[in-house]
Amino acid sequence: EPEVTQTPSHQVTQMGQEVILRCVPISNHLYFYWYRQILGQKVEFLVSFYNNEISEKSEIFDDQFSVERPDGSNFTLKIRSTKLEDSAMYFCASSGQADQQYFGPGTRLTVT
């Protein structure tokens, strides 16, 4: 069964450093998403991406965040200058239609 994959599974970085989280969506999917989940809290939407551009973003997704689909398979989330409060699980999701979103296993980001 096709699945969304994410790398790395755990990323530790120092405050102020740039991080790139990588995702490989399901191959025939057209919509891509990033969500985050702070430990013990609900899943929060960050951004959706369709047709090579951002289609929707939340208040969390400020200028420190960017997304890119550098080739036909990868979808990345970049945080330019990490803050302590960016520590969370980051989930990538993809869908063939906008509603049925399939989530990856997540990347745990720890900012020290």
Binding site: V4, Y35, Q41, K42, Y50, F91, A93, Q100, G104, P105
Partner: protein, 112 residues
């Protein structure tokens, strides 16, 4: 602003019993309501979903009940099993949007 409210926060059920998790929403534009199951260290996995044109949807032991007038929907897990122990999130989406609004999650423990 909490778009989707979920209760209870935690639930303990005996094996074979019925687990019931409730969600309420305010935005009448929502037209897609999925439930996700999340095991520790894993991403949310789509369990079952419903649209407002039906009042109930059943898939195996999992049933969604939907009350459009009350703006509420619930997940019923029949014959609950220890393997069902996980965190369950309800979510909602508007037809013109891409993002899910997640509830705060319910930690379900099924006791053997």
């Amino acid at each position: 602003q909490q778009q989707v409210k979920q209760s209870p926060q935690s639930l303990i059920v005996q094996k074979g019993g019925i687990s019931i998790i409730n969600c309420a929403y305010e935005n009448t534009a929502f037209d897609y309501f999925p439930w996700y199951q999340q095991f520790p260290g894993k991403g949310p996995a789509l369990l079952i979903a419903i649209r407002p044109d039906v009042s109930e949807k059943k898939e195996g032991r999992f049933t969604i009940s939907f009350n459009k007038s009350a703006k509420q929907f619930s997940l019923h897990i029949m014959d609950s099993q220890p393997g069902d122990s996980a965190t369950y999130f309800c979510a909602a989406m508007v037809p013109t949007g891409n993002q899910f609004y997640f509830g705060t999650g319910t930690s379900l423990t099924v006791i053997p």
